[in-house]
Amino acid sequence: MDNRQRLKTLLTIGLIIVCCVSLFFAESYLDNFKARVLNLAAIFVILGASMNLVLGFTGMFSLGHAGFMCVGAYVSAILTMSPESKEMIYFMEPIVPALANIHWPVLPAIFMAGLVASFFGFLIGFPALRLRDDYLAIATLGFGEIIRIIVTNTITITNGSLGLKNIPSIKSMYLYWGVAIITILVLKQLINSSWGYAFKAIRDNEIAAEAMGIDVFRHKLLSFTVGAFFAGVAGALMGHLITSIDPTMFRFLFTFQILLIIVLGGLGSLTGSVIAGLVITIMMEVLRFVEQPMNLFGLVIPGIPGMRMVIFSLLLLMVILFYRQGLMGTREFNWDWILNKLGVKPDKGKGVGANG
């Protein structure tokens, strides 16, 4: 067993090196568009993994993820925008003086975005997590919408429905994938810790977990707050990727896309979320062709905008009706699994996303 442990450590180090090398190549050789899609995929991986922590591992049906993203995106944008561009953008009403001259570097701003989002998560979780199942779903959905409505109405802080433009743009894939990998590693550690076991116990049977001495409320709150933290981070990254944000971006529809990712990947599988996050984001770009006019053997089909979302809704329904466990179920695509499949002959299996 000791041997195997060492082997796994080596493999993990190998995988991280492979990731770094492939990141390096991707950074140098991919064109702008492809890099952008991959960066978006990294953001969806973070979102999927963090929502999976809440829904898949702790069994709390929270639909407020888009709201926390919204908080994160705004915090990071306001912190990093230069005072001049703030002056330019807030033309309806000037920004409150306390925020006007703040000009932070990106990394601390992203971290701060996560912290503020998790603070909101804590505030919201405190009352809401006493509820269960569908009540929790509707309450968190409501909180997400309330956050959005507040953002729309506090014009001196957020510039209201006009949104923010000229957010410092970052193209480096190291940032997006670096944060994504850190997220996965942190969540993996959390899930494999005693906290994580408690989460799963709560998911499987709340009353039994409580009887075993688990402080259900505290664990739920922790899971929810951590989920909100990473949602905030992902929101901040989203802002820096597309450089303009407005409140309508973070509607409930956005949470739906994340839901699709975790259902497809498997509720309760971190690697499933990683794979599904990549697949869905890339599909979303590949399927753009269905919205463009097509020419099939001389038969011209006009493009139908919105068709992609129909396909995705159908996909979600199909998965939930016929293949409920998703791609991975609650299994993980990790070294143990690979080694077991191969006997202990680890020549292959250095797939991307296998670091779970």
Binding site: D133, D134, A137, I138, G142, T152, N153, S313, L316, L321
Partner: protein, 297 residues
Amino acid sequence: MTGELLLQSLANGISLGSLYALIAIGYTMVYGILRLINFAHADLLMVAAYGAFYGIMIFALPWWASFAIAIMITAFLGVSIEKIAYRPLRNAPRISVLISAIGVSFLLENLGIVAIGARPKSFPRPEDIVWNINIGGISFLSLTVIIPVVTILLLVAVTYMVNKTKTGTAMRAVSRDFEAASLMAVDVNKVISTTFVVGSSLAAVGGIMWSLQYPQIDPLMGVFPGLKCFIAAVMGGIGNIPGAMLGGFILGMGEVFLVALMPELSGYRDAFAFILLIFILLFKPTGILGENVVEKV
């Protein structure tokens, strides 16, 4: 607040409240039987509105025929949704059914966007039912009277059906205990289908009256009214039909008066319902008229 504004707000509150009440009943009936938030219920409003819209504008039907057809289509759709998306998951974990409901809702919205286009359309107002009334200097639309009257008639009919008829008794039995009801020779599937027919038809009537009152329709028009009506149902005590009516009226009145009394808060109008919901859930999760149910292990 002037007397005129008070009367105006009262009238608006009653008509908004009755729309909420009508739609909330659909939620509460389905929840009572399946213990499921039927997210697709909100989109049935939209389907009914577009059904009526196309009936009048494209097929040039008289308004009553087009309304009737729209209601029938919606009822059929509601039953089909249950058959296709909820029935196969009846023994699955609740989260799965909820995800399925969300999936259906998004499918309908996105199909709406694809088939109809996201641009809002203006709903026709037939002159037979929409005209201006002038009483003592206050002018209002006939709808302000028609909507509450139709609502109250339908509410009486539904209450009668649930409490006095055989189908209603079966519904109550199924909502109490699935298995025991089926052992008593109640055809559970049939009862559930009937529930969806009734709930969806009410949603359709609500959707059509909603579009008459606020004549801008678009594929996402149902989302916010839907959420608010669910909140109304929870507020009154979910699964409880008089509760849904009460919740609907309270919510409608509250919203209208919030805006009338504090116009500077009108941007927060949509947040009002959610804040109310959260307070209700925290302090009286069973709602105003709900029964206290102790969860069994």
